[in-house]
Protein backbone atom coordinates (compact mmCIF):
# COMPACT_ATOMS: atom_id res chain seq x y z
CA UNK A 1 0.00 0.00 0.00
CA UNK A 2 1.38 3.36 -0.95
CA UNK A 3 0.91 6.04 1.60
CA UNK A 4 1.30 9.71 0.82
CA UNK A 5 1.98 11.70 3.93
CA UNK A 6 3.44 15.11 4.24
CA UNK A 7 6.02 15.61 6.97
CA UNK A 8 7.25 19.10 7.83
CA UNK A 9 11.00 19.43 7.18
CA UNK A 10 13.27 19.71 10.19
CA UNK A 11 14.56 23.28 10.59
CA UNK A 12 18.04 23.67 9.17
CA UNK A 13 20.37 24.52 12.07
CA UNK A 14 22.57 27.52 11.66
CA UNK A 15 26.28 27.11 12.42
CA UNK A 16 27.99 28.48 15.46
CA UNK A 17 28.22 31.95 13.96
CA UNK A 18 24.53 32.00 13.32
CA UNK A 19 25.04 31.76 9.53
CA UNK A 20 24.17 28.95 7.15
CA UNK A 21 27.09 26.98 5.80
CA UNK A 22 27.17 25.90 2.15
CA UNK A 23 26.07 22.33 2.92
CA UNK A 24 23.31 23.50 5.25
CA UNK A 25 22.05 25.85 2.56
CA UNK A 26 22.11 23.07 -0.02
CA UNK A 27 20.21 20.79 2.35
CA UNK A 28 17.67 23.52 2.93
CA UNK A 29 17.15 23.98 -0.81
CA UNK A 30 16.75 20.24 -1.36
CA UNK A 31 14.26 19.84 1.48
CA UNK A 32 12.26 22.87 0.38
CA UNK A 33 12.23 21.64 -3.21
CA UNK A 34 11.06 18.19 -2.17
CA UNK A 35 8.35 19.67 -0.01
CA UNK A 36 7.19 21.91 -2.86
CA UNK A 37 7.08 18.95 -5.25
CA UNK A 38 5.04 16.92 -2.79
CA UNK A 39 2.63 19.76 -2.26
CA UNK A 40 2.26 20.38 -5.98
CA UNK A 41 1.61 16.71 -6.69
CA UNK A 42 -1.44 17.02 -4.48
CA UNK A 43 -2.59 20.29 -5.98
CA UNK A 44 -6.26 20.19 -6.90
CA UNK A 45 -6.82 16.66 -5.70
CA UNK A 46 -6.50 14.53 -2.62
CA UNK A 47 -3.82 11.92 -2.50
CA UNK A 48 -4.74 9.25 -0.02
CA UNK A 49 -3.67 5.80 0.98
CA UNK A 50 -4.52 3.43 -1.78
CA UNK A 51 -3.76 -0.04 -2.98
CA UNK A 52 -4.76 -2.43 -5.69
CA UNK A 53 -7.37 -5.00 -4.78
CA UNK A 54 -4.70 -7.58 -5.54
CA UNK A 55 -4.66 -10.67 -7.68
CA UNK A 56 -7.97 -11.91 -8.95
CA UNK A 57 -6.91 -15.53 -9.28
CA UNK A 58 -5.37 -17.76 -11.90
CA UNK A 59 -5.91 -16.69 -15.48
CA UNK A 60 -7.83 -13.58 -14.50
CA UNK A 61 -6.52 -10.34 -15.95
CA UNK A 62 -9.50 -8.02 -15.87
CA UNK A 63 -11.34 -7.23 -12.68
CA UNK A 64 -14.53 -5.17 -12.89
CA UNK A 65 -17.69 -4.16 -11.03
CA UNK A 66 -16.28 -3.73 -7.50
CA UNK A 67 -18.67 -3.80 -4.54
CA UNK A 68 -17.67 -3.39 -0.91
CA UNK A 69 -19.68 -4.82 1.95
CA UNK A 70 -21.01 -2.18 4.32
CA UNK A 71 -18.27 -2.93 6.85
CA UNK A 72 -15.61 -3.04 4.14
CA UNK A 73 -14.51 -6.53 5.14
CA UNK A 74 -15.54 -8.13 1.85
CA UNK A 75 -15.01 -7.15 -1.75
CA UNK A 76 -17.04 -8.59 -4.61
CA UNK A 77 -15.88 -8.13 -8.18
CA UNK A 78 -16.30 -9.76 -11.56
CA UNK A 79 -13.30 -11.54 -13.09
CA UNK A 80 -12.79 -13.64 -16.19
CA UNK A 81 -12.61 -17.33 -15.42
CA UNK A 82 -12.54 -19.80 -18.26
CA UNK A 83 -13.56 -16.98 -20.56
CA UNK A 84 -16.69 -16.23 -18.53
CA UNK A 85 -17.36 -13.24 -16.32
CA UNK A 86 -17.63 -14.74 -12.85
CA UNK A 87 -18.35 -13.27 -9.44
CA UNK A 88 -15.40 -13.34 -7.04
CA UNK A 89 -15.95 -12.74 -3.33
CA UNK A 90 -12.86 -11.99 -1.26
CA UNK A 91 -11.98 -11.02 2.26
CA UNK A 92 -10.00 -7.82 2.59
CA UNK A 93 -7.16 -7.21 2.97
CA UNK A 94 -6.08 -10.86 2.88
CA UNK A 95 -7.65 -11.55 -0.53
CA UNK A 96 -8.90 -14.96 0.65
CA UNK A 97 -11.61 -16.17 -1.67
CA UNK A 98 -14.92 -17.08 -0.08
CA UNK A 99 -17.08 -19.85 -1.54
CA UNK A 100 -20.51 -19.22 -3.04
CA UNK A 101 -23.03 -22.00 -3.23
CA UNK A 102 -25.11 -21.00 -6.23
CA UNK A 103 -23.03 -18.43 -8.04
CA UNK A 104 -20.44 -20.71 -9.59
CA UNK A 105 -22.63 -20.96 -12.69
CA UNK A 106 -25.22 -18.88 -14.56
CA UNK A 107 -22.47 -16.70 -16.08
CA UNK A 108 -21.96 -14.01 -17.12
CA UNK A 109 -22.33 -12.32 -13.75
CA UNK A 110 -22.73 -8.56 -13.52
CA UNK A 111 -23.25 -5.77 -11.05
CA UNK A 112 -22.66 -7.46 -7.68
CA UNK A 113 -23.77 -5.80 -4.46
CA UNK A 114 -23.20 -6.82 -0.84
CA UNK A 115 -25.06 -6.29 2.40
CA UNK A 116 -23.50 -4.89 5.55
CA UNK A 117 -21.63 -8.01 6.72
CA UNK A 118 -21.70 -9.68 3.33
CA UNK A 119 -24.41 -12.11 4.34
CA UNK A 120 -26.33 -11.30 1.15
CA UNK A 121 -24.72 -11.28 -2.26
CA UNK A 122 -26.92 -9.75 -4.95
CA UNK A 123 -25.87 -10.08 -8.57
CA UNK A 124 -27.24 -10.33 -12.10
CA UNK A 125 -26.99 -13.78 -13.63
CA UNK A 126 -27.79 -15.21 -17.04
CA UNK A 127 -30.34 -17.97 -17.16
CA UNK A 128 -31.13 -19.07 -20.69
CA UNK A 129 -31.77 -15.94 -22.68
CA UNK A 130 -32.87 -13.90 -19.68
CA UNK A 131 -30.84 -11.81 -17.27
CA UNK A 132 -32.07 -12.23 -13.74
CA UNK A 133 -31.41 -10.51 -10.40
CA UNK A 134 -30.70 -12.99 -7.60
CA UNK A 135 -29.63 -12.77 -3.97
CA UNK A 136 -27.62 -15.56 -2.33
CA UNK A 137 -27.96 -15.81 1.43
CA UNK A 138 -24.53 -17.00 2.62
CA UNK A 139 -25.87 -18.02 6.02
CA UNK A 140 -28.65 -20.41 5.02
CA UNK A 141 -27.63 -21.07 1.40
CA UNK A 142 -30.92 -19.88 -0.11
CA UNK A 143 -31.10 -18.23 -3.50
CA UNK A 144 -33.81 -15.64 -4.00
CA UNK A 145 -34.74 -14.83 -7.60
CA UNK A 146 -36.36 -11.70 -8.96
CA UNK A 147 -37.85 -12.39 -12.35
CA UNK A 148 -39.21 -9.39 -14.20
CA UNK A 149 -42.04 -9.35 -16.72
CA UNK A 150 -40.93 -10.61 -20.10
CA UNK A 151 -40.72 -7.21 -21.77
CA UNK A 152 -38.33 -5.79 -19.15
CA UNK A 153 -34.60 -6.36 -18.92
CA UNK A 154 -32.52 -5.65 -15.83
CA UNK A 155 -29.18 -3.91 -16.41
CA UNK A 156 -27.75 -3.15 -12.96
CA UNK A 157 -28.67 -3.56 -9.31
CA UNK A 158 -27.85 -2.24 -5.87
CA UNK A 159 -28.69 -3.87 -2.55
CA UNK A 160 -29.15 -1.74 0.56
CA UNK A 161 -26.57 -2.66 3.25
CA UNK A 162 -29.31 -3.93 5.56
CA UNK A 163 -30.76 -6.10 2.79
CA UNK A 164 -34.13 -4.40 3.23
CA UNK A 165 -34.32 -2.91 -0.25
CA UNK A 166 -33.13 -3.72 -3.74
CA UNK A 167 -32.80 -1.19 -6.56
CA UNK A 168 -32.90 -2.41 -10.14
CA UNK A 169 -32.05 -0.51 -13.28
CA UNK A 170 -34.63 -1.79 -15.74
CA UNK A 171 -34.91 -1.07 -19.44
CA UNK A 172 -38.34 -1.22 -21.02
CA UNK A 173 -39.01 -0.11 -24.59
CA UNK A 174 -35.58 1.51 -24.65
CA UNK A 175 -36.24 3.63 -21.56
CA UNK A 176 -34.06 3.17 -18.49
CA UNK A 177 -35.79 3.33 -15.12
CA UNK A 178 -34.67 2.67 -11.57
CA UNK A 179 -37.14 0.70 -9.48
CA UNK A 180 -36.83 0.01 -5.76
CA UNK A 181 -38.24 -3.11 -4.13
CA UNK A 182 -38.99 -3.68 -0.47
CA UNK A 183 -37.46 -6.94 0.79
CA UNK A 184 -38.44 -6.54 4.43
CA UNK A 185 -40.76 -9.56 4.21
CA UNK A 186 -38.25 -11.68 2.32
CA UNK A 187 -34.87 -11.20 3.99
CA UNK A 188 -33.73 -10.94 7.58
CA UNK A 189 -31.86 -7.68 8.04
CA UNK A 190 -28.06 -7.81 7.93
CA UNK A 191 -27.06 -5.05 10.33
CA UNK A 192 -23.77 -3.79 11.75
CA UNK A 193 -22.40 -5.84 14.61
CA UNK A 194 -24.07 -4.88 17.85
CA UNK A 195 -27.23 -3.55 16.20
CA UNK A 196 -30.24 -5.78 16.65
CA UNK A 197 -33.35 -5.33 14.59
CA UNK A 198 -36.85 -6.06 15.73
CA UNK A 199 -36.56 -9.42 14.00
CA UNK A 200 -34.58 -12.47 14.92
CA UNK A 201 -31.46 -11.64 12.95
CA UNK A 202 -28.23 -11.67 14.85
CA UNK A 203 -25.75 -9.70 12.79
CA UNK A 204 -22.72 -11.28 14.40
CA UNK A 205 -23.72 -14.58 12.87
CA UNK A 206 -24.17 -13.09 9.46
CA UNK A 207 -21.53 -13.37 6.82
CA UNK A 208 -19.23 -15.56 8.82
Amino acid sequence: MRQHRLHPPAPTPPNAEGRFTGSALLRSVVVTGALTAMLCSGCGSWSWGRRSAGPAGLGASNRQDPALSGDGRLLASVVERGGRDTLLLQEQPSGRELPLRHLRRFQPHRSPSLSWNGRYVAVLIQQGNRRLAVIEDRVNGNLLRFPLPGDQEVERLSLAPSGRRLALEVVHNGIYRVQVFDLANQLEPDLPAGMLSGGSATPKAAGR
Partner: protein
Protein backbone atom coordinates in the same frame (compact mmCIF):
# COMPACT_ATOMS: atom_id res chain seq x y z
CA UNK B 1 -47.06 -12.76 -5.78
CA UNK B 2 -46.28 -16.12 -7.32
CA UNK B 3 -46.15 -16.56 -11.06
CA UNK B 4 -45.87 -19.53 -13.38
CA UNK B 5 -45.17 -19.69 -17.08
CA UNK B 6 -48.58 -19.51 -18.73
CA UNK B 7 -47.77 -22.41 -21.04
CA UNK B 8 -47.36 -24.92 -18.23
CA UNK B 9 -50.47 -23.87 -16.36
CA UNK B 10 -52.37 -24.13 -19.66
CA UNK B 11 -50.87 -27.58 -20.18
CA UNK B 12 -52.08 -28.72 -16.79
CA UNK B 13 -55.53 -27.32 -17.45
CA UNK B 14 -55.74 -29.05 -20.78
CA UNK B 15 -54.66 -32.27 -19.22
CA UNK B 16 -57.68 -32.20 -16.98
CA UNK B 17 -60.82 -30.43 -18.05
CA UNK B 18 -60.25 -30.16 -21.78
CA UNK B 19 -58.93 -33.53 -22.85
CA UNK B 20 -60.84 -33.25 -26.11
CA UNK B 21 -58.79 -30.17 -27.03
CA UNK B 22 -55.48 -31.86 -26.36
CA UNK B 23 -53.18 -31.31 -29.33
CA UNK B 24 -52.19 -34.45 -31.24
CA UNK B 25 -48.55 -34.18 -30.24
CA UNK B 26 -49.47 -33.95 -26.56
CA UNK B 27 -51.92 -36.88 -26.99
CA UNK B 28 -49.10 -39.06 -28.36
CA UNK B 29 -46.85 -37.93 -25.52
CA UNK B 30 -49.50 -38.80 -22.97
CA UNK B 31 -50.02 -42.26 -24.44
CA UNK B 32 -46.33 -42.99 -24.27
CA UNK B 33 -46.02 -41.62 -20.75
CA UNK B 34 -48.01 -43.80 -18.39
CA UNK B 35 -46.72 -41.94 -15.34
CA UNK B 36 -48.66 -38.83 -16.27
CA UNK B 37 -52.16 -38.46 -14.79
CA UNK B 38 -54.84 -39.28 -17.31
CA UNK B 39 -58.00 -38.71 -15.35
CA UNK B 40 -59.49 -35.28 -14.82
CA UNK B 41 -59.91 -36.17 -11.15
CA UNK B 42 -56.10 -36.25 -10.73
CA UNK B 43 -55.34 -33.57 -13.23
CA UNK B 44 -57.42 -30.80 -11.68
CA UNK B 45 -55.34 -30.63 -8.49
CA UNK B 46 -52.27 -30.51 -10.72
CA UNK B 47 -53.71 -27.52 -12.53
CA UNK B 48 -54.17 -25.78 -9.20
CA UNK B 49 -50.79 -26.78 -7.82
CA UNK B 50 -48.71 -26.04 -10.92
CA UNK B 51 -48.36 -22.29 -10.30
CA UNK B 52 -47.51 -22.92 -6.65
CA UNK B 53 -44.93 -25.57 -7.47
CA UNK B 54 -43.39 -23.43 -10.16
CA UNK B 55 -43.17 -20.38 -7.95
CA UNK B 56 -40.43 -22.21 -6.07
CA UNK B 57 -38.42 -22.52 -9.28
CA UNK B 58 -38.94 -19.11 -10.77
CA UNK B 59 -38.98 -16.93 -7.66
CA UNK B 60 -41.38 -14.18 -6.84
CA UNK B 61 -42.38 -11.31 -9.03
CA UNK B 62 -41.28 -8.20 -7.14
CA UNK B 63 -43.50 -5.16 -6.85
CA UNK B 64 -41.82 -1.72 -6.85
CA UNK B 65 -42.47 0.60 -3.90
CA UNK B 66 -45.53 2.49 -5.13
CA UNK B 67 -45.08 6.10 -4.03
CA UNK B 68 -41.36 6.06 -4.66
CA UNK B 69 -41.87 4.57 -8.10
CA UNK B 70 -44.04 7.52 -9.08
CA UNK B 71 -41.45 9.96 -7.72
CA UNK B 72 -38.72 8.29 -9.74
CA UNK B 73 -40.90 8.33 -12.83
CA UNK B 74 -41.14 12.10 -12.46
CA UNK B 75 -37.35 12.37 -12.72
CA UNK B 76 -37.52 10.93 -16.23
CA UNK B 77 -35.00 8.37 -17.42
CA UNK B 78 -32.89 7.05 -14.53
CA UNK B 79 -30.02 4.60 -14.21
CA UNK B 80 -26.90 3.62 -12.21
CA UNK B 81 -28.67 3.17 -8.83
CA UNK B 82 -26.71 3.07 -5.56
CA UNK B 83 -28.62 2.26 -2.37
CA UNK B 84 -27.70 2.88 1.18
CA UNK B 85 -30.42 2.20 3.70
CA UNK B 86 -32.04 5.61 3.78
CA UNK B 87 -30.64 7.01 0.54
CA UNK B 88 -30.89 6.22 -3.12
CA UNK B 89 -28.40 7.87 -5.45
CA UNK B 90 -28.92 7.65 -9.18
CA UNK B 91 -28.32 9.43 -12.45
CA UNK B 92 -31.43 10.80 -14.04
CA UNK B 93 -32.88 13.49 -16.20
CA UNK B 94 -34.83 14.38 -19.27
CA UNK B 95 -33.89 15.38 -22.78
CA UNK B 96 -30.34 14.09 -22.52
CA UNK B 97 -29.43 16.40 -19.62
CA UNK B 98 -28.55 14.10 -16.80
CA UNK B 99 -27.51 14.82 -13.25
CA UNK B 100 -26.87 13.08 -9.96
CA UNK B 101 -30.02 12.75 -7.87
CA UNK B 102 -30.10 11.78 -4.19
CA UNK B 103 -33.46 10.59 -2.90
CA UNK B 104 -34.33 10.42 0.80
CA UNK B 105 -36.24 7.14 0.93
CA UNK B 106 -37.94 7.96 4.23
CA UNK B 107 -39.46 11.15 2.86
CA UNK B 108 -39.46 9.83 -0.71
CA UNK B 109 -38.11 13.18 -1.88
CA UNK B 110 -34.95 14.23 -3.70
CA UNK B 111 -32.62 16.43 -1.66
CA UNK B 112 -30.64 19.36 -3.07
CA UNK B 113 -26.98 18.82 -3.99
CA UNK B 114 -25.63 22.35 -4.39
CA UNK B 115 -22.32 22.53 -6.19
CA UNK B 116 -22.33 18.95 -7.45
CA UNK B 117 -24.15 19.02 -10.77
CA UNK B 118 -23.09 21.26 -13.61
CA UNK B 119 -24.57 21.49 -17.08
CA UNK B 120 -21.35 20.69 -18.92
CA UNK B 121 -20.65 17.49 -16.97
CA UNK B 122 -22.06 14.05 -17.75
CA UNK B 123 -22.24 11.80 -14.66
CA UNK B 124 -21.45 8.14 -15.36
CA UNK B 125 -21.57 6.42 -11.97
CA UNK B 126 -22.44 7.34 -8.40
CA UNK B 127 -22.08 5.80 -4.93
CA UNK B 128 -23.40 7.01 -1.57
CA UNK B 129 -22.46 6.23 2.04
CA UNK B 130 -24.94 5.13 4.70
CA UNK B 131 -25.47 8.59 6.14
CA UNK B 132 -26.01 10.26 2.78
CA UNK B 133 -23.15 12.63 3.58
CA UNK B 134 -20.60 11.49 0.98
CA UNK B 135 -21.21 10.83 -2.67
CA UNK B 136 -18.54 9.54 -5.03
CA UNK B 137 -19.20 10.40 -8.66
CA UNK B 138 -17.49 9.44 -11.91
CA UNK B 139 -18.20 12.07 -14.52
CA UNK B 140 -17.07 13.27 -17.89
CA UNK B 141 -16.01 16.87 -18.04
CA UNK B 142 -14.23 18.64 -20.89
CA UNK B 143 -13.43 15.34 -22.54
CA UNK B 144 -11.89 13.80 -19.42
CA UNK B 145 -13.30 11.16 -17.10
CA UNK B 146 -12.75 12.06 -13.47
CA UNK B 147 -13.65 10.82 -10.02
CA UNK B 148 -14.86 13.33 -7.45
CA UNK B 149 -15.97 13.13 -3.84
CA UNK B 150 -18.84 15.35 -2.72
CA UNK B 151 -19.55 16.16 0.95
CA UNK B 152 -23.11 17.26 1.40
CA UNK B 153 -22.71 19.13 4.68
CA UNK B 154 -19.82 21.16 3.23
CA UNK B 155 -21.35 21.41 -0.26
CA UNK B 156 -17.76 20.76 -1.35
CA UNK B 157 -16.42 18.80 -4.26
CA UNK B 158 -12.88 17.36 -4.35
CA UNK B 159 -11.23 15.47 -7.21
CA UNK B 160 -9.77 12.06 -6.40
CA UNK B 161 -6.68 11.41 -8.52
CA UNK B 162 -6.06 8.02 -10.12
CA UNK B 163 -2.53 6.86 -9.25
CA UNK B 164 -1.04 5.46 -11.43
CA UNK B 165 -3.12 7.35 -14.01
CA UNK B 166 -6.17 5.54 -15.32
CA UNK B 167 -9.77 6.01 -16.36
CA UNK B 168 -12.30 5.34 -13.58
CA UNK B 169 -15.65 3.75 -14.34
CA UNK B 170 -17.63 2.03 -11.58
CA UNK B 171 -17.37 2.77 -7.89
CA UNK B 172 -18.51 1.48 -4.51
CA UNK B 173 -18.32 3.25 -1.16
CA UNK B 174 -18.02 1.54 2.19
CA UNK B 175 -21.02 2.34 4.39
CA UNK B 176 -19.05 4.77 6.55
CA UNK B 177 -17.76 6.53 3.44
CA UNK B 178 -14.11 5.99 4.43
CA UNK B 179 -13.14 3.56 1.69
CA UNK B 180 -13.79 3.63 -2.01
CA UNK B 181 -13.48 0.75 -4.49
CA UNK B 182 -12.89 2.00 -8.03
CA UNK B 183 -12.84 0.13 -11.32
CA UNK B 184 -10.01 1.67 -13.32
CA UNK B 185 -8.86 1.09 -16.89
CA UNK B 186 -5.06 1.11 -17.25
CA UNK B 187 -3.43 0.13 -20.50
CA UNK B 188 -6.50 -1.72 -21.68
CA UNK B 189 -6.82 -3.76 -18.47
CA UNK B 190 -9.57 -3.26 -15.91
CA UNK B 191 -8.33 -3.16 -12.34
CA UNK B 192 -9.86 -2.39 -8.95
CA UNK B 193 -8.25 0.17 -6.63
CA UNK B 194 -9.13 0.56 -2.97
CA UNK B 195 -8.71 4.11 -1.75
CA UNK B 196 -8.80 5.14 1.91
CA UNK B 197 -10.56 8.46 2.41
CA UNK B 198 -9.89 10.79 5.34
Amino acid sequence: MAIAPPGLARWARRLGAHRRDTPPLLKRTLKSAPFLPRRPLLARPLAVLAPLLLSGCTGTLPVPMGGLDRRLEAIGSSHAPALSDRWLALIGGRGGREQVVLVDLERQMPVPLPGLNRPDAQPLAVAVDASGERLAVVRQLEGRTELVLYRRSLMALEPVAMEPPGVPRRISLRADGRELAVEVSRGGVWQVDLIQLP
